[in-house]
Each structure stands twice: as C-alpha cells, then as structure tokens.
Amino acid sequence: MSSHYEAPIRRPLIVGDKNYHDISVDVAAPVEGKANKLWWTAFSIALVAFLWGLGCIIYTIGTGIGVWGLNKTVGWAWDITNFVWWVGIGHAGTLISAVLLLFRQKWRMGINRSAEAMTIFSVVQAGLFPIIHMGRVWNAHFVLPLPNQFGTLWTNFNSPLLWDVFAISTYLSVSLVFWWTGLLPDFAMLRDRAIRPFQKKIYGLLSFGWTGRAKDWQRFEEVSLVLAGLATPLVLSVHTIVSFDFATSVIPGWHTTIFPPYFVAGAVFSGFAMVNTLLIIMRKVSNLEAYITKQHIELMNIVIMITGSIVGCAYITELFIAWYSGVEYEQYAFLNRATGPYWWAYLLMMSCNVFSPQFMWFKRLRTSITFSFIISIVVNIGMWFERFVIIVTSLHRDYLPSSWTMFSPTFVDIGIFIGTIGFFFVLFLLYARTFPVIAQAEVKSILKSSGEKYKKLRDGNHE
C-alpha cells in the first residue's frame, strides 16, 4: 500500500466502501439496466426538438437563407452566435481530460469521459451552423482544398474562416480518437460482463479486442499522455482561431487583440458550466454519486468562478481600450453595446457572466448542488448572450447610418437552435445508456490512493 500513498489532507475522490469489482458493477449498471420513465420522457422531448430543428433546416435549405432574420446590415447573427456558443461548450471536455492530465489532477477521472462526450456532441452541433449558413450545403466540400472543375482554384489559406475549418475538424477528430482510445478498456469490461450474445458482439466490436496486456497498458498510458500534450495547445488554438474570424476583420467591436485569450476563457467558462449541468443530473439518475462527488462539483465551480472573472476583466479591458484608443467608431461601438437598443442583452451578459459566478467565493454556495445547477444554466444563458452582443450589436450599426437596423430572429432561426439542443441531448442520452460513462479503468487505478475506504485504512495506521 505504500506505493499508493496520498496526503491525508486530500479528500477522497471515491466515496463509500468500494472495491474494484464494485466499480465495474456501478459503471455497467446504467448500460445493463433498463431505462426508466424519466429517461424516456427526456429522450422523447429531445427527439421532438431535434425533429423540429431538422424540419427548419430542411426548410432553410429548400427555400434559402432568406427565411432567416438576417438582413443586408446584419449578415451574421443567430447562426454564428449558436456556432460560437456550441464550440465554446465543446472546450471543457478536452480541457478536463488533457490539461488536467498534464497537471496530474486525479479528480478529472470521474468526469472526463462524459465531458469528452459532451465536447464531441457539441462540436457536432457547432459544425452544423457554418454548413447550413453556406446555403448551398451540397457544396460544403468546397471548403476543403480539393482539385475541382476549374482546374486548380484552391481555397484561400489567408482566410481565418478556412483556418476555422482546419481547426475545428482537427479538434473534432483528435478529440474523438482521444475519447475512443480511453474507452477501449471500458468497452472491454462491458464486453466481458455481457451475457446476451448481441451485446457481447457489439461491445467486442467497439472494444477493438482490448485485452489489457502489460505492454498495451504501457503504450496506452504513453499515448494518453502525448495526446494530452497535443490536445492542450489544440484546444487553446480552436477558440483562438474562432476569435480570429472576428478579430481579423475591420468591424469596430470585433477588431481587438484581446479576443483570443478572452474567447478561450469564455469557452472554458461555458464548457465547465455545461459539464456541471449534465453531471449534476447524471450522477443522480445513474447512481454515480460515489464517483462524481460534491468535491468534483465544487472544483468545477471554482474553475467557473476563475474563468468568469477572467471574462469579466476582458469586458472591462475592452471598454477601457475602446476609450483609450481614441477611435470614435470603436468608442461608439462599445457605448452602443451598453446603452444602445440592445442594452438588455448587454446587461444580461454582464449579470450572468460576471456577477453570478462571484457567488462561488462562498463555500456554502459552491458546495450546494441545487445552487451549482442553477448557476450552470445561468452561465450558459449569459455566454449565449455574450456572442449575441458581440456579433449583432457590432453589425447593426453600420458605417453608413442609413443602413442602421435591428435584428430579430424568425421562427426558423429559433427552430434550428432548439433543434441542435435537441440533437445534443438525443446523443447525450443515448450515450448515457450505452457507454461506460465513467473511465472505470482509470478510476480503479486511483482507488487505493484516493478511495475513502483505503484512505481511512491508511490514516488509521499512522495514528
């Protein structure tokens, strides 16, 4: 046991009297059991929302993006807001599994699987929006540098929009591979527990024949470490490049060098909030409170508080720099944001993103499950409005005052957004019933150092 020493001051990450077999049983239970009424209700609602969104997408593609609320002044609005919002949410998974792995934070192990699933599902939603916004979706492959009928007219590698294509597809595919490699031993556990031949076959297929040889584990750990090292700059690059979509333009309110770090902090902020939203429900419904503990929620709340404060600093810096720049267009853009016709969106953004996370300074509040859940929802509403404020308020006041206008979404805009939320939850609910939602092999490897039972045994020996 000496090899599993951990300072007694650290609180246990696995509570209760668990042994290795208990972990397998607990992780396999949601997969092997039957879905309850609550799951079916949630799934039906999500499916209906998804189908409604699908209908709106088909209507948009069939008729043209004129069915959206865009006009000649505001050419980017609802769709790009949703795109950036979903990409932002998609940042937490890789941050938890990669950055926290590099920092050797053991608490990542209880939550990394679901956070990565959330990442992949939300990047899928994000990817839909630029593709639909193309209008002619059947030409979507034109964003790739493929030889075409014009001979060799290539894509423009100077364009941040093309950088985005590369950044997001790299991010999605690398996250997927990272996730799947971690899943292999856990699928193998489900395969070896399966009784019905069909389940055995499916999990055998998904586990790629994982057997757990010593050499495989050695490679597995090295691959995880290197992937974490690669994914860490990758995750920072993705939202940096998304922010370049705005920052490299000459629109007042967009053309700022603070955008990359500010967007990355905002992405982590909203991503962790979404992880909290999902896991607070999941730990209850799937009986995983022993593995996703109050401590996990508390630590995520601390990350939310810090990144929320960084975002707050960025908002204030932007205002200061707008004034300090002496550029009147820039000054007007920010004054108009806060006091113009979209003041309510700005106020909502400020109160949700800067004010609400400050409650997490209080231990009582950040360890309260109900309060954490409410704040996690509030944060994501705020982050949606942040993107809305940046995009719409910067565009709706053109250089030509005769073009000044307002944006209001149509039912199609709203329908597609609701559809992606539905699609996201359809994927996540299916995941929760068919995948090992906790990285059980990794959790087993820290059971003796961070399990409550073993910590008590060890601390007892010292006293």
Partner: protein
C-alpha cells in the same frame, strides 16, 4: 518446444506486483500479465522496455508540418497565386504568418492520428479483433500472470502457489 503456460490469477495489484518481482528473481520467464487497469511500475517490474511511441508522434508531427508547408506553398504561391484584398500571394516568406495556424493544426492532426494508428497496429487493436484475455474477469478485478513452462511444471506451480495467487491454470498457448 511446448507452448505450455501456467496462468496464475491474483485479486490485488499489490500482491501481483510482489509476485512479479518474486517470479523474476527466481528466473522464471513471465510471458504476459493481464490487468484490468494500468498498474504503475508493472512494466518496469516485468523488465519491459520503454515504449517509443512518443518518438513516432514527434516524427509524424514533423511530417505534418512539412506537408502543410508544401501544400500551402504549392496551392497559394506556385500553382495559382492571387492578390486577395491587396495582400498578394507571391512569396512564401511574406505569406507565412497567415499559414501558421494551419501549419500548427496539420502538425497536430498528423501526430495524433498517426500515433494512435501506430498504437492500434502495434497492440493489434481493431474492430472485429477477437479479444485474447485468458479470463473475462481480467477486465474487471482479476490480474493474470502467465509464466512459461519449461519442463518444470510441478515445481513452478508449487512456487507460484506461495506468491498469493487465488487460482492456477495450466493451458496450451497458441
């Protein structure tokens, strides 16, 4: 030569680690160890060499970088140079800053995917691959050490029984 192996099963990773050290000290040959989770230090205790997969990742990353430089130089500078927004693409050095994001993304893309493919190939992992673990419990809570029999079956079993094993099986390995 016979392919007979003794499979000794353990129910705890610390007992397994001690057993591996004892078996190695007694000069028996450990064929394989199956564990449900990564047991830290097991590879060293078994005398396995370190993996070089991180080095391959570095090389793949270099390939990705070179490929992206070649691709963008060919497409933007050589094949069809354009003047986009007053920023002409007539020399690689002048355009290079705009190429940095994609140079980075391609390096990561190549390094990550090719390393994982190498891992899957070397560890023989792919869809439809049949699992070869000797007992289904080795992905749950059991640890199996396979030791090669070299005409010393009875002696080996007697030795392994003293290492804290909970189950012993003798099988032919293919």
């Amino acid at each position: 030569m016979s392919n007979k192996v003794v499979q000794a099963m353990y129910n705890d990773d610390d007992i397994l680690m001690d057993a591996v050290k004892e078996v190695r000290a007694a000069k028996y040959h450990i064929e394989e160890v199956y564990t449900p989770f990564p047991v830290h230090g097991l590879d060293k205790a078994m005398g396995l060499k370190g993996t070089r997969i991180a080095i391959t990742a570095f090389m793949y990353g270099c390939v990705g970088l070179v490929f992206s430089v070649w691709m963008m130089n060919y497409m933007m500078i050589e094949d069809w140079p354009q003047d986009i927004g007053g920023k002409p693409s007539f020399a690689f050095v002048q355009n290079m800053p705009a190429f940095v994001p994609i140079m980075f993304e391609m390096s990561v893309f190549f390094a990550a995917h090719l390393m994982v493919i190498t891992f899957y190939m070397r560890s023989r992992l792919w869809p439809f691959k049949e699992a070869e673990n000797p007992d289904p419990r080795t992905t749950d809570d059991m640890f199996v050490m396979e030791v090669v029999v070299d005409g010393n079956e009875a002696e080996l079993i007697a030795f392994l029984e003293k290492t804290g094993t909970v189950e012993i099986k003798v099988t032919e390995k293919h």
